[in-house]
Amino acid sequence: MSISKGRRRTATPVAGSFFLCWQAAYLDRRRQSGGYAVVELIVEREARGQPGQFLMARTECGPALPRPLSLLWAEGKRVALLVKDEGQLRARMAEAPLGTRFDVRGPYGVPYRDAVEHSRRYVLVGGGSGIAPLRFLWQRHPELVESVAFGLRHTVDENFLPDTPLLIEELGQPTAGDQALHVWRPGLGLIACGPREMLRQLAAGLPERKGVYFALEERMGCGYGACQGCVVMTRDGPLRLCTDGPLVALDRLGW
């Protein structure tokens, strides 16, 4: 059963730590292209986030529930996010003047590196904002990565995501899912983050379940493991994405 005791693999919360406290985060830089924005925030305290971890974010005027957003990178007090430019919070991140204050807490979630087996190399498959955690993993832990397939619907400026190969759907290029299925071969693992349809396509197309991990994007509540709002049902029972995920082994999902 999904209760807190003994199940948490993330850092234990410490009183007054970043884990439970909001920190002011000021919008410092931003570039926007193709319906997405890369936003850089300066936070009060070092975030020490790892690839696959996410921050819970909000503004003082809402939304009532904070939103999970994956780290694109984190260096000292500077963190970057890749957000779609729609929705209550993300549109604000994409449009608000530089210097605007957001609140963030975290980082939460099991880092991808701790969630996967280290005995194989992985094909990373990212769609849309799902590219963020995988690009971060690729940069931090290249030893785990065999190849990457990152896809966006629309063309973006050349320097939007520097040094990142992108497949652009509107240019008729293969989707990230197609590309990944093309390069995957037995013995390799696969880590995917992106829209549900992309994950479903991969689940249907992969002959192998072992070594395959999907990052799921359920709506989240607290982010710290208490409310059970972001639970997904797995073969082993309910799993809280915020503390036990966001990466889930495909064989547990039973898709």
Partner: protein
């Protein structure tokens, strides 16, 4: 010196602020905060006789000034609660209110008997109002409320709160039924039944369709229920819950008649909020030279005299 302490339900609460049942789970994730500063009490996630996985996802969606949830009383069940959770709760320096529910009279009686005897259980809260499980919430009518509260109070002497639904035309007869059967107090309110629809598909957003609305959106509803109950039962302990998100809403809840104030959804957003509210409440009372929190409780029924006289 301002006194925030509340003596009700046979307990000494260090201050009137509680975590309400559910949003903070069993409160264990917030243990570091409990250890650093006092908080009046912690109400646990509702425990049921057997483990419940809860409803299929999506279970949560936001709404203007709040959120709808359909968690479905996901909990590890009574045995695991007693073996794994309660021992950890006993370590927390606060009053423990244990929320429980069962679908029938036998279940309620059995649970009240076991929980009432368990070490570390200070107060019981009988959840008669969850909108996210099979069947109608019992507190939608007085007869079911009466039956279940009677079963619980027959089995234990531990003080019992009856947690009622706001989704009734008049909460007073339902509250009266609970009190006549021996409930020591009332928790008002649970979430308000609600619905959201996915605009791109035309289907309900939550997998189970209905959800319970909470957060700032329901403050006026909760205040009305607390006010009505306080007017009808001047001496009964009342825990006011619903839409408390800041000092202003906490003050209103107290003024409407809440001896104790529960924080729900807002803890999911801001885990430190309940502790900060205690500090802000103390400062507010101090600035107005009000020496005791209890002077505030129900002052809206007395023309606000307590506050004005001491201002």
């Amino acid at each position: 010196m301002v006194d925030l302490a509340v003596s009700r339900l046979g307990q000494s609460f260090a201050n009137p602020v509680l975590l309400s049942s559910g949003p903070a789970g069993f409160g264990l994730e917030l243990a570091p905060l409990f250890r650093s500063k006092p908080l009046g009490g912690l109400t646990t996630k509702t425990v049921t006789p057997s483990p419940r996985q809860g409803n299929p996802p999506p279970r949560l969606v936001d709404a203007p000034a709040g959120a709808l949830n359909s968690i479905g009383l996901a909990n590890p069940g009574l045995d695991e609660f007693l073996a794994q959770v309660l021992p950890e709760l006993r370590e927390l320096p606060t009053v423990r209110l244990i929320s429980f529910a069962a679908s029938d009279v036998q279940g309620v009686e059995a649970m009240a008997g076991v929980l009432g005897e368990a070490a570390g259980v200070d107060v019981l809260e009988l959840n008669l109002s969850c909108p996210n499980v099979e069947g109608r919430p019992p507190s939608w009518d007085s007869a079911s409320t009466r039956e279940l509260v009677r079963a619980a109070t027959r089995a234990t002497c531990t003080p019992l709160l009856a947690k009622l639904s706001p989704d009734v035309t008049d909460v007073v007869p339902v509250a009266a039924a609970a009190l006549e059967e021996g409930a020591a107090g009332l928790t008002l309110v649970n979430t308000v039944r609600g619905l959201r629809i996915q605009r791109d598909t035309g289907r309900p957003t939550l997998a189970r369709m209905w959800g319970g609305l909470s957060g700032a959106a329901i403050l006026p509803i909760a205040l009305a229920r607390v006010f009505e109950a306080r007017r009808a039962f001047p001496e009964v302990p009342i825990v006011g819950v619903g839409g408390v998100t800041d000092l202003g809403s906490l003050l209103e809840m107290a003024m409407a008649g809440a001896d104790l104030v529960g924080i729900g959804l807002a803890v999911m957003c801001d885990p430190e909020l309940p502790w900060r509210l205690c500090v802000e409440l103390k400062q507010w009372l101090c600035r107005r030279r009000i020496s005791r929190y209890s002077q505030l409780v129900g002052c809206a029924h007395r023309g606000g005299v307590d506050v004005c006289r001491t201002c």
